[in-house]
Amino acid sequence: MPQITIRSFARFRQLFGEMNTVSVPEGTSVLGALLAFAKTQKDGMDELFAGGKLGSHIILMYNRERIDSDDAKTIHTADGDEIVIYPPVSGG
């Protein structure tokens, strides 16, 4: 099955570690891959999903481009893809 890398920053890195991979069926959406990932992690569902919906505070990148949460269910992943998740930023 295709391997998707999930990269996490800040609070999510502390909870899940920086780099993870998840194996998902061919053609799984970004949302589907995140759901599969969340289920492998302690507190993953609580942290990332609320009532089955991706948390609105989570910022997503797909292959190094930011994507809108709403598009996570329509973008289909392929082997070697990278999804990045992070909480709101606070630099400066």
């Binding site: 930023v89 630099g91 400066g92």
Partner: protein, 132 residues
């Protein structure tokens, strides 16, 4: 134009001299510092470096264009920073001061909104709150 994420401290005087040209009527330097809010004795700054570098370049280009700036330099640090240390330096040069002030403010607001950098409070060896 210097755009960098780095662990090392920033030589602000050198940045100012290097950026200055005869077209500058005003330079504005914004410096973000580790402020003592009473709950911590250091900050740990985390950055997604390659994306942050690209974002800084995009923000600098947008600011140059929108505010007719002569130059933009942005240097942001990451790693562990003690109270009073420099976190970020944003330097803009412009012909006149209104553009310089507005361009400077635009850059720091965009940086805080968008660039993947996070701050966590440290107290001794204990990790505290993520700053928001």
């Amino acid at each position: 134009m210097v755009l960098a994420l780095q662990k090392e401290d920033i030589d602000i005087g050198a940045l100012i001299s290097a950026s200055r040209t005869n077209n500058d009527g005003a330079q504005i330097v914004f410096i973000g510092c580790v402020r003592d809010d009473g709950n911590m004795d250091a900050l740990e700054i985390e950055a997604f470096v390659p994306v942050a570098e690209k974002d800084l370049a995009d923000i600098a280009a947008e600011a140059m264009e929108r505010f007719s700036l002569n130059s933009v330099d942005i240097v942001h640090r990451y790693g562990r920073l003690a109270l009073g240390e420099t976190i970020v330096v944003i330097l803009v040069g412009a012909g006149h001061r209104p553009e310089a002030y507005e361009g400077s403010r635009f850059i720091i607001e965009k940086l805080k909104e968008k660039v993947p950098i996070w701050k966590q409070e440290l107290s001794g060896n204990a990790r505290g709150e993520w700053v928001h």
